[in-house]
């Protein structure tokens, strides 16, 4: 359960988020829509404590994440998987190593890495491309690899910031289908996008944002409406 209470974020003079209140339940699939600059990315950044709000509090499973110590922040980030428009893959590492990296830096044992990485590559359909480097993968495959990396810690929440932004319709559709599959296994998915078709295909809860405010919250069978 994610709760945002009276969240405002101010960058210098710019009001990125203006008194946002939201509640997202476990296992939900939420599409966060709105034009660029509406505050979608800021909202996601707040949940991983990349950013801190100027006002208000964010509770994840009842814990105010502003209270977490430096050492606890990585643990929060392992509970929350994140994927981005630009994939953020390491070009010098192959697919297997890109995913393994996430486990290595959290101190996992090699046995665990050798067991878990092929499994998760299999889930995203890249089992046969484990040795390929990012430049040898298509855009859709890169994003699926990023999803595999985000899933490696078995996160309870998956944040997707414009995951289809660099992809054509077909590849974008594949990625969203994968996100829906992940959601069916019980992971909460928050998808920030301004891709109308994708949102309408998903047809789940849609939260519309504009100028830092939540202007519409369609709980079920939501559509992209501006």
């Amino acid at each position: 359960m994610i709760e945002l209470k009276d969240i405002s974020t101010i960058y210098d003079d710019f009001l990125a988020l203006d008194n946002v209140n939201l509640e997202i339940k476990d296992g939900e699939f939420v599409s966060l829509v709105g034009p660029s600059g509406a505050g979608k990315s800021t909202l996601l950044g707040l949940m991983t404590r990349e950013l801190t709000p100027s006002k208000g509090e964010i509770l994840i499973d009842g814990i105010n994440i502003a209270d977490l110590s430096h050492a606890e922040v990585p643990l929060l980030r392992r509970k929350i998987g994140t994927i981005f428009q630009d994939f953020k893959l390491l070009s010098r590492k192959n697919a297997f190593e890109n995913v393994a990296f996430a486990l290595e830096v959290s101190g996992a044992e090699p046995e665990e890495i050798n067991e878990d990485v092929p499994k998760v590559l299999n889930i995203v359909g890249l089992a046969d491309k484990a040795k390929n480097f990012p430049h040898q993968l298509s855009g859709g495959e890169k994003q699926r690899l990023a999803i595999a990396r985000a899933l490696i810690h078995r996160p309870r929440i998956l944040l997707a910031d414009e995951p289809t932004g660099n992809l054509d319709m077909l590849n974008g559709y594949d990625v969203v289908k994968l996100l829906m599959k992940i959601n069916e296994f019980g992971t909460t998915v928050i998808l920030a996008t301004h891709n109308r078709e994708i949102v309408n295909i998903v047809g789940r809860r849609v939260i519309s944002m504009e100028k830092g405010r939540v202007v519409r919250d369609q709980i079920e069978q939501g559509k992209y409406i501006i």
Binding site: A71, L76, K88, F101, S106, G107, R149, H153
Partner: protein, 302 residues
């Protein structure tokens, strides 16, 4: 856990290796600092040797008149020995003084002859006094001047080395202080240079660091490789400094040995190799780690 350490060390090593040119400069500055520090240690040792050599030569001799009895002399000796400033008192009787004198001039026929012609022993009995440290001779002399047996004392010889000792000490202190200032300045520069190198590494690895944070990499996993990198600069600098220092010392040692007899620089630093080498390594590693620590604090957000 072992795997994690391996990863941290490997990453640190790769950072060090890939920075080749920068590493060269960074290590070079550190080598200078360590060599300067070693030079200070040499200076310290040399001046210490000179001062203690001079101090050993200082003593006070009290000569007694011919009519002084042995009891009186021994009473003075006892008085002196009860003084806290006194380290040792040696009694030289008239007979011993004569024997010493004869032995000293055994080859001199004229002196031997003149001695034989004398009916009496012309030499005086004396006490030779060593103080615990060189600053206390003046007070011993004052004590003797006020002693109740002063009338039987002929003269008090105070071989004045104190001025020389003070001079050597003040010169070595002056050189040492300036050396320390230069070493500190250079150490500061070395820290700045290393800091900048690590900063560049951090900048070059922005993406990797961002991803590490993103996937919940522990703070230790993100930061430690940069500390290792800094430590490696220190280790390499220490190795080079030691490789340069010992041959240079060997070269200088024989020249210093000619100037100041009884001093062996190379001997001293070879005997104390187990203290000296770890000290240089510790200093190098500390410099490197302090620099990367500052760079991490300033530029690495986790």
């Amino acid at each position: 856990m072992r795997k994690a350490f391996k990863r941290i060390f490997r990453t640190g090593w790769l950072n060090f290796k890939r920075n080749s040119y920068l590493s060269f400069g960074t290590t070079g500055v550190m080598v200078l600092v360590l060599l300067l520090f070693s030079g200070l240690m040499v200076l310290n040792y040399v001046s210490g040797q000179i001062v203690s050599g001079l101090e050993n030569k200082v003593d006070v001799s009290v000569y007694f008149k011919n009519d002084a009895s042995e009891d009186q002399v021994l009473a003075v000796k006892q008085d002196l020995e009860s003084q806290s400033a006194v380290a040792r008192v040696t009694y030289i009787s008239k007979e011993k003084a004569l024997a010493d004198f004869k032995a000293k001039h055994a080859g001199d026929a004229l002196i031997q002859q003149s001695l034989a012609e004398l009916a009496d022993n012309p030499l005086q009995s004396s006490l030779n006094i060593k103080a615990k440290d060189s600053t206390q001779y003046a007070s011993i002399v004052t004590f003797l001047e006020g002693n109740k047996f002063r009338p039987v004392v002929d003269k008090i010889n105070f071989y004045e080395n104190e001025a020389v000792i003070n001079r050597v000490q003040s010169i070595s202190r002056g050189v040492g202080n300036w050396g320390l200032v230069v070493t500190l300045i250079l150490a500061f520069i070395a820290i700045m240079v290393t800091f900048n190198t690590i900063r560049l590494t951090i900048y070059n690895q922005k993406n990797e660091i961002e991803i590490m944070r993103l996937v919940g990499g522990s703070n230790w996993h993100i930061k430690a490789p940069y500390l290792i990198e800094g430590g490696l600069y220190g280790i390499f600098a220490a190795v080079i400094a030691i490789v340069v220092f010992y041959p240079a010392l060997w070269f200088v040692s024989s020249k210093v040995g000619v100037l100041i007899p009884g001093i062996s620089l190379i001997g001293y630093f070879v005997t104390n190799v187990l203290q000296f080498v770890p000290l240089i390594f510790a200093l190098g590693i500390a410099l490197g780690i302090i620099s990367s620590w500052i760079a991490i604090r300033r530029f690495l957000k986790v």
